[in-house]
């Protein structure tokens, strides 16, 4: 028995706290327009995101959303428009962690910037949208959350108004974003047309009814299939997967580095939770395949291989560090897509759990890597590999952390990235007993990881081994950026002892959704 009965909507607290924080920031801004009190503004954002994190962790620990425990369990909010389960809480944790890191780092990055309050409120607002995405359980709420994330993101990419690259990137991001939103919402309408429902469980029920009632299969099949394909397109945009990945290198390169970190870690995670939720809940593999004639996991298998290969090959040829990270982030989207591709196989939920685990580790290592780029921008050292030469002599700690991120992204033990990739690999191999396509995916994962070591170690080489091009003075040591980078590095290493329980949580969350 709970001592205190909270109303159901309180289950959404991690997202609501973020929304509240955004409103507080607006309030501060309206009381003192053009405030340059960076500590107050970023402090508010940090407190907000950390509270959201704390509540999400507390809920997880307390067993909210866990199945099989009395008095607890999955909480439906607003008649099932939102659902708070382990999956949602897991991703809320990832999102709030990344938000916290990004806001801490922004404290220094945004020195002398004109739009302080706007910046933080947009970040927190986008984070709210992402948290909402994690809990959305109906195509309508999903679309709203998606737009709540996207609109602030467009503005954030372009927030360096005096920087042509930033504005151009923002415009590009906006145009492609608008296009893929349109595609997504058109997909929603087609699915609605085929099934008559928007709530995910209701869609699933309807799909199964149609599948049993084979007479209507043909006419509905095309409609539903096209709808699903369009939904995949919308998700591919949000996760920066092929074929909607073109915006990512441009946007990440043009955006302020903390925003690149935010988009490539948190926004991607949010896109994936959407994909996990929609495809596990709304479109049961067997029944959907009966109607449209094709198993949708096949689409994800192809997407996964193409995405990881293209991302890694493109990353290997970059001269610009930020673009390299952007393409590598496309590669990592490919790894996570394996989680969706495996869903039709026995043990597929474990692959999905492993993919979630990889997203969590990725949240630390990738955010850290982009924040390091932010630090380099703060120092004004330039953008190419050559410009990074010999930085370790001046800043051994940050460069040590960056080496950890790079080796972890490449999947070198003992860092977190190795373990999450390994988990993904073994679960895929296990599931491959049921679906041999997965063997190809596992092989692609290994080959791509091996390839990626080339360009990741190239950056380590630049930082630690090459001689600096020009003699640098002492580099500034901005506390916020340093704190965020070191925290991310420590988490990338320290996640190891706790890897077991966290991975179990991911696997359980995935199993609960798939079941």
């Amino acid at each position: 028995m709970a001592v205190l009965e909270l109303p159901d909507w309180m289950a959404l607290a991690p997202a609501l706290i973020l929304a509240g924080t955004a409103l507080v920031l607006f309030l501060i801004d309206s009381i003192d327009p053009h405030s340059t009190n960076r500590t107050l503004l970023s402090g508010t954002a940090i407190v907000g995101s950390l509270s959201s994190l704390a509540v999400a962790v507390w809920y997880t620990a307390a067993g909210v959303g866990a199945t099989g425990i009395e008095n607890y369990g999955v909480i439906d909010v607003m008649n099932g428009q939102f659902v708070v389960d382990q999956l949602a809480l897991y991703f809320m944790i990832i999102i709030s962690v990344v938000t916290a890191l990004v806001t801490v780092a922004s404290h220094d990055y945004l020195r002398d910037h004109t739009y302080q309050a706007e910046y933080y409120s947009l970040v927190v607002l986008a984070a709210t949208g992402m948290s909402m995405m994690a809990a959305s359980n109906s195509l309508v709420t999903i679309f709203i959350a998606l737009e709540l994330t996207s609109l602030p993101s467009y503005a954030l990419v372009a927030i360096l108004k005096d920087n042509r690259g930033s504005v151009e990137a923002g415009l590009k991001y906006f145009l492609i974003g608008a296009l893929s939103s349109a595609i997504f919402v058109y997909g929603v309408s087609l699915v609605y047309g085929a099934t008559g429902s928007l709530q995910l469980e209701a869609i699933a029920t309807e799909v199964e009814v149609i599948a049993e009632n084979a007479g209507t299969a043909d006419e509905m099949g095309g409609l539903l299939g096209l709808g699903i394909l369009m939904l995949i397109g919308g998700i591919a945009f949000k996760t920066a997967s092929v074929p909607f990945h073109f915006w990512a290198p441009e946007a990440y390169e043009g955006a302020p580095a903390p925003i690149s970190a935010f988009l490539s870690s948190a926004s991607k995670a949010a896109g994936f939770v959407l994909a996990f939720r929609v495809f596990t809940t709304a479109f049961p593999v067997g029944a959907t395949a009966d109607i449209i004639g094709v198993d949708w996991t096949l689409a994800f298998a192809i997407l996964a291989i193409v995405t990881m290969t293209l991302g890694n090959f493109a990353a290997a040829t970059q001269e610009n560090v930020k673009r390299m990270l952007a393409y590598s982030s496309i590669g990592h989207a490919g790894y996570v897509l394996i989680g969706l591709a495996a869903l039709s196989a026995e043990g597929g939920e474990l692959v999905m759990g492993a993919a979630m685990m990889h997203l969590l580790v990725y949240g630390f290592m990738n955010t850290g890597a982009f924040l390091f780029v932010g630090l380099a921008e703060h120092w004004g050292v330039g953008r190419t590999f050559e410009d990074y030469n010999g930085l370790a002599e001046r800043a051994p700690f940050a460069c040590g952390a960056m080496a950890i991120f790079m080796f972890s992204l490449a999947g070198v033990p003992p860092f977190g990235g190795f373990w999450s990739k390994y988990l993904l690999y073994t679960e895929t191999i296990n599931a491959a007993a049921d679906n041999t396509i997965l063997l190809a995916l596992a092989a692609a994962l290994v080959i791509n990881s091996a390839l990626s070591l080339y360009y990741y170690s190239r950056l380590v080489k630049a930082l630690w081994i090459e001689e600096p091009l020009l003699d640098r003075d002492r580099l500034a040591q901005p506390t916020g950026l340093y704190a965020a980078i070191v925290a991310a590095a420590v988490m990338t290493v320290v996640i190891l002892p706790a890897f077991g329980p966290i991975a179990d949580a991911a696997l359980e969350a995935a199993a609960a959704v798939v079941a």
Binding site: P396, L439, L453, F499
Partner: protein
């Protein structure tokens, strides 16, 4: 908890040294490294275990704690020592301390980072030799690479970037091949193993072996895994034709890194071959005995020939490692008590001798700024003590009786000659023994030109005697080489205890 203490001291020491000021880093690292050295000697004195850690037998200083569950397999923190790993742990701690001392003279840039990395390597090397869980072992195994990559890349010679990348790519690809093979094996073993603990896997392999995986039969799978792992380790050893990274890495690496590379890192490869291939796959050893022995003999002869062709003193020592490691492989594939035991002894002995040789070459280089045999002459006049030690080391390499090299090589030849598993074993032994002639040839040739004769090096700096601390550390190594040569039973008894179950399990 003693092994944990060893690793922890080195690891914490590495962090402390990393943040210490450059000025005191060398002395600080030395002081810190004395602790694991003393502890490991204490372990050696207190050692009480018999048998093989992987097969049957008592483990010394064992400790095990659950760590992770991945899929159906558990991973644990599982360390322990037996007669094979203990001498290697002692070798590691002693060589690391001496390597730190020998870096005092040549290293004058970013010292704190340098010494921090050395201590970090030490911690991971101890881990490699004491870990008994595959994952734990693999973590340590890979973690050795990164600091060595940096040591070569930052403090190395003119072509250091090329050498560092080559080293990293070669050994990392090899690790990947080996890792993939081993995971296939664990999956192939099916329900008979529930963890990555090496003893459990070894006993599953000896009692039946894998069921098969993805349509491969059990025997085929075992062969594939055996070959995959052999290739993975072969690069690390290295044996011909995977040896090309070694001379580059050695020549470009700073002296202390060379000492650790030749002294301990190469032993990781042979140690792993012994622990995995030769302990877990007795049937495959039998099947592939001839090709492996052929590769070993080729490594011995070809490595020695390559050394013969060099004029760079450091390159000569580097290539001679290829040939010495060939002896180790030959001893392993003989699969007799003296063969495998001698191979293990040779690992320790070669660690000491090659460490000494690199140290001596480094000392001469510090004084003369050249390593070319063709440039030097009459060095014995200028640095009699260092050169004397160099000559003593060279004799150790050639297998002079009463030095450890003799005992190692003799037991290997003795064991191989009488091998029942290896067909034509006398032939292979004879061919390998011919290697000794070439070894003597290139060493004497090099010494004669560099050391004796009139002094004719024209330099604008004073070439004088070696610093005391360098001489002291070389004397320590030479003392150990002679000690093991005079009293090999100090470690050979414990080695034999651990080797016996392998041979009994296999045949």
């Amino acid at each position: 908890m003693m092994i944990e203490a060893l690793i922890a001291v080195a690891l914490v020491g590495a962090l402390v040294t990393f943040v210490a000021p450059n000025r005191i880093a060398g002395k600080l690292a030395f002081a810190i490294s004395l602790v694991p050295a003393a502890l490991s000697l204490w372990l050696f004195a207190a050692f009480d275990g018999s048998g093989n850690a992987l097969l049957d037998g008592e483990l010394a200083f064992e400790s095990q704690a659950a760590w992770l569950e991945i899929g159906n397999h558990s991973i644990s923190w599982f360390v322990g020592l037996d007669g094979i790993s203990l001498p290697l742990v002692v070798l590691t701690t002693i060589l690391c301390t001496l390597a730190i001392v020998s870096s005092w003279t040549p290293i004058d840039d970013r010292e704190s980072q340098f010494y921090g990395l050395i201590l970090f390597i030490e911690a991971n090397l101890i881990g490699v030799f004491s870990a008994l869980d595959f994952f734990l072992w693999f973590v340590f195994w890979e973690a050795v690479l990164i600091p060595m990559y940096l040591l070569i890349g930052i403090w190395g010679g003119p072509r250091r970037k090329y050498a560092a990348i080559k080293f990293f790519v070669y050994t990392n690809v090899a690790s990947l091949v080996m890792f993939g093979s081993f995971i296939m094996l664990v999956f192939g073993l099916g329900d008979s193993v529930t963890s990555f603990a090496l003893p459990e896997i070894a006993s599953a392999m000896v009692n039946g072996g894998p069921e098969g995986l993805f349509g491969l039969g059990g025997t085929t799978l075992a062969s594939v895994v055996f070959i995959g792992m052999f290739l993975g380790f072969a690069v690390k050893v290295p044996i011909v034709p995977f040896h090309t990274w070694l001379p580059d890495a050695h020549v470009e690496a700073p002296t202390p890194a060379s000492i650790l590379l030749a002294g301990v890192l190469l032993k990781m490869g042979t140690y792993a071959l012994l622990r995995f291939n030769f302990t877990m796959f007795p049937n495959q050893v039998e099947t592939y005995a001839i090709p492996i022995a052929a590769i070993a003999v080729i490594s011995v002869i070809y490595g020695a020939m390559l050394a013969l062709a060099q004029t760079d003193l450091k390159r000569i020592v580097a290539y001679s490692s290829v040939s010495s490691m060939g002896y180790v492989i030959l001893g392993l594939v003989a699969y007799t008590q003296f063969g495998v035991g001698g191979a293990t002894f040779q690992m320790v002995s070669h660690g000491l001798i090659s460490g000494l040789m690199f140290m001596a070459v480094g000392v001469i280089y510090n004084a003369t700024h050249t390593r070319m045999v063709t440039d030097m002459s009459g060095m014995a006049d200028r640095m009699p003590i260092a050169v004397g030690i160099l000559i003593a080391g060279a004799f150790g390499y050639m297998g002079l009786p009463l030095m450890s090299g003799f005992y190692g090589e003799f037991t290997i030849f003795f064991g191989t000659f009488g091998s029942e598993l290896l067909d034509y074993s006398p032939l292979f032994t004879a061919a390998a023994m011919f290697g000794i002639v070439i070894v003597a040839g290139y060493l004497l040739f090099a010494l004669q030109r560099a050391v004796f004769g009139p002094y004719r090096l024209e330099t604008d700096y004073e070439v004088g005697r070696a610093p005391m601390h360098d001489v002291a550390s070389m004397v320590v190594l030479l003392g150990l080489i002679i000690l093991l040569g005079v009293a090999p039973d100090l470690i050979f008894d414990m080695i034999t205890d651990a080797v016996d179950p392998i041979i009994r399990g296999g045949l």
